[in-house]
């Protein structure tokens, strides 16, 4: 009766009709089906998330627990120990590799965004003959096997005296980031309606002003997404890092992690996992932040 009292006169007939609907005959079957569905979801979730859970759990073990192995320590941790984390920073000096990775990934991302934005805008907006071919070429370049590049690049860096130096990596990582960034940004720019720029032009803006005040602000979500992606790609590299970096001080984070657990007597999985957790945090934060930024509805109001 309360529903009827609260619904306005127009909606009342609908509320009444809902109650008068015949009872569901298939009730037991549909409930079973729903339970089965959610059970399946739970299983899939468990299987996918278990590795991450395990890494997290191992990160909070002490060295002795790690040595004992998983069969003795059980599924759930008895207590949380931050010893692995602190060890990473004090004994293993994890901070330096982290900073190195940050510098290199950030540097590569900045260059990527600048270059790929200009390329993307040109390819999307100007009637360049063979634009599609150029784009295809750029994409294909991204498929080139990284390992095949290591030999020649090593020799080059050696001759330039740039081995064991993180800065060349900024340029080298463009191999990962530019192809996909160009492709993504070309797509983003071509989705921005031409009308917007034309409206800005007719309103009295020069091409540069139109670009600055209209196109770029509208493209920001796309640029942001691309930047995140580029950062992740650059951050995750191992092949180039392991080939060109020698001393621990110049290691990047992925490289440093590998060296953590190496000791003659024990592989310190807890320290490795702690490092993995640390390494994942900036990426996870970025992605979460980016998700809010990628608001497709930003362009919804400009058309129609």
């Amino acid at each position: 009766m309360s529903t009827e009292a609260s619904t306005p006169a127009v909606l009342a007939p609908v509320a009444r009709a809902r109650r008068r609907r015949p009872p569901r005959r298939l009730r037991p079957k549909s409930v079973l089906r729903e339970i089965g569905f959610y059970l399946l979801v739970l299983i899939v979730l468990a299987i996918s998330l278990f590795p991450f859970y395990w890494i997290l759990r191992t990160a909070f073990e002490t060295d002795t627990e790690a040595a004992q192995g998983s069969t003795t320590t059980g599924l759930l941790p008895s207590h949380l120990s931050f010893s692995a984390f602190s060890n990473d920073f004090t004994q293993q000096h994890f901070l330096t590799p982290l900073i190195n990775s940050a510098i290199v990934a950030a540097g590569a991302t900045v260059i990527t965004i600048v270059v790929a934005s200009l390329a993307g805008y040109a390819l999307a907006r100007f009637p360049i003959r063979g634009a599609r071919t150029i784009l295809g070429f750029v994409l294909v370049a991204g498929f080139f096997p990284v390992l095949a590049m290591i030999g020649p690049l090593f020799l080059l860096l050696k001759d330039l005296g740039l081995l064991d130096n993180i800065y060349p990596l900024i340029i080298i990582y463009l191999v990962y980031t530019l192809p996909i960034a160009t492709w993504l940004l070309t797509n983003f720019f071509s989705q921005i309606p031409r009308d917007l720029e034309e409206a800005a032009l007719v309103d009295g803006a020069t091409r540069m002003q139109a670009l600055r005040k209209v196109v770029i602000p509208v493209a920001v979500p796309g640029v942001f997404t691309t930047a995140i992606l580029a950062f992740i790609l650059a951050w995750n590299d191992f092949a180039f890092a392991v080939s060109f970096l020698d001393t621990p001080n110049s290691f990047t984070a992925p490289l440093a992690i590998v060296n953590f657990g190496q000791s003659a007597f024990q592989v310190y999985y807890n320290r490795i996992d702690a490092a993995v957790v640390i390494i994942t945090i900036p990426i996870a934060v970025l992605v979460l932040f980016a998700q809010r930024r990628i608001v497709a509805g930003l362009t919804a109001g400009s058309v129609r």
Binding site: P193, D195, L196, E198, A199, A200, L201, V202, D203, G204, A205, T206, Q209, K213, V214, P217, V218, V220, G297, L298, T299, A300, G301, S302, V303, R304
Partner: protein, 411 residues
């Protein structure tokens, strides 16, 4: 002096397509010029050339005696309302409207005052701080208009601004736009494919087809005196009924199929018709010039009756549309366009092309005709239109003044 002149304006794309051919137009200050025609006829291209968004291949565009061909769109002092509004999605309504003013470095309070005034005129005052995504279609359209009017430009350009609105809103905004334009007294070019918009809004209407200007005149003149078959079929809704006919040697009667109509006396001596004695022509009868003869009230109409069969009757409340079949060959005056998304004028033309034997008559609401009935339609023969079957040019019509060689008119 913000008059706009187009002289022999032509646009040929690099791939050879001639989108606009030899267009000549003059629009005086404060005049509302409508560019109308089916999709792909070149009207939008012409508008964009005026705006500076497309290059002019040949010809000259002048604004107030100043050649603007090479002037960039940013420097032409024209405001444009786009079909999809093209509002800046990342800016508020107030910023959208004030964008052009800010670009010109006007002081902030002046900008704010002008924006608020424009918003008041358009009823947008409560929405000034919203983003376009939060507005309805009609509100966005008004923001687009506000962005244009706040600039007080020399020329207004509008590219089908109402076509994305629902029918009722469109009718409302039609009057609004016309009123605003009249108040501001700015030369305006308005592109539409809707001939009703063209007729109701324009001081002058320029009818385009396949890149060529067919006729540019006041709406009533276009209706009474279309220059050719295309204009005749395009203007007026439902479209003019066009049939193949045959004139007799004395120019007193015209045979349509198996039936005959008596021609008004003034046509006998018409210079333009002389070469067509005993020759085929195309005859046009507007639906409103047909009426249903019922209950024997057809005295004195012997030479002005067409007999046909009723296919369908559509009741509009105020009148009825009778779709009828005659045993005569129909002519389509509208060249079909690639775009199937058509409005009133084009719809009728496309019907003409496909359902080639069905004509339309506007009859009184009191008519009792039903589908399948035999009908006798009274033709207002004074308002017949005659066209050259080869060139499509108009030969005779109700508003047509004979400018060819004078001949003694038989009574």
């Amino acid at each position: 002096m913000a008059t706009v002149e187009l002289e022999h304006v032509t646009k040929i794309y690099p791939n050879g397509v001639e989108a606009v051919s030899d267009v000549n137009l003059q629009v005086a200050e404060g005049e509302f010029m409508v560019l109308v025609g089916p999709s792909g006829c070149g009207k939008t291209t012409t508008l964009r050339m005026i705006a500076g968004l497309e290059d002019v291949t040949e010809g000259e565009i002048r604004v107030g005696d100043r050649l603007v061909n090479d002037l960039s769109a940013s420097d032409r002092d024209m405001a444009m309302v786009f079909q999809n509004y093209a509002l800046y999605p990342h800016m508020t309504v107030a910023d959208n409207i004030g964008f052009a003013l800010k670009l010109r470095h006007l002081p902030k309070d002046e900008v704010r005052a002008k924006v608020e005034e424009a918003a008041r005129v358009l009823g947008l005052s409560e929405h000034l701080n919203r983003k376009p995504a939060q507005l309805s279609g009609g509100q966005r359209q008004r923001v687009a208009m506000g962005r244009a009017i706040v600039r007080e430009p020399a020329v207004f350009l509008m590219d089908e601004p109402l076509s994305n609105l629902d029918a009722k809103l469109r009718v409302q905004m039609r009057a609004e736009v016309a009123r605003i334009q009249r108040r501001l007294g700015v030369a305006t070019f308005y592109v539409t494919h809707d001939q009703t918009e063209a007729m109701t809004m324009g001081d002058k209407v320029a009818v385009f087809n396949v890149g060529k200007l067919q006729q540019c005149d006041e709406p009533q003149t276009l209706y009474d005196t279309p220059a050719n078959l295309f204009v005749a079929a395009f203007i007026g809704s439902p479209a003019m009924n066009l049939y193949r006919g045959h004139l007799n040697p004395e120019l007193t009667r015209i045979r349509i199929g198996e039936q005959e109509l008596e021609l008004p006396g003034r046509l006998r001596g018409l210079g333009a018709l002389q070469p067509f004695r005993d020759k085929p022509v195309v005859v046009g009868i507007r639906p409103e010039d047909l009426n249903s003869v019922e209950d024997g009230d057809g005295h004195g109409t012997a030479g002005a009756i067409l007999q046909g069969n009723v296919d369908l009757v559509e009741s509009l409340g105020s009148e009825k549309l009778v779709h009828f079949r005659l045993d005569a060959e129909r002519v389509s005056g509208v060249i079909g366009s690639a775009d199937d998304d058509s409005s009133e004028g084009l719809d009728a033309g496309e019907i003409a092309a496909s359902a080639a034997t069905v004509g339309t008559a506007r009859v009184a609401a009191s008519s009792r005709l039903r589908a399948g009935d035999e009908t006798r339609l009274k033709v207002d023969t004074e308002r017949l239109h005659l066209f050259d079957p080869d060139s499509g040019d108009a030969l005779a019509g109700p508003g047509r003044v004979d400018t060819t060689a004078p001949s003694p008119a038989a009574a």
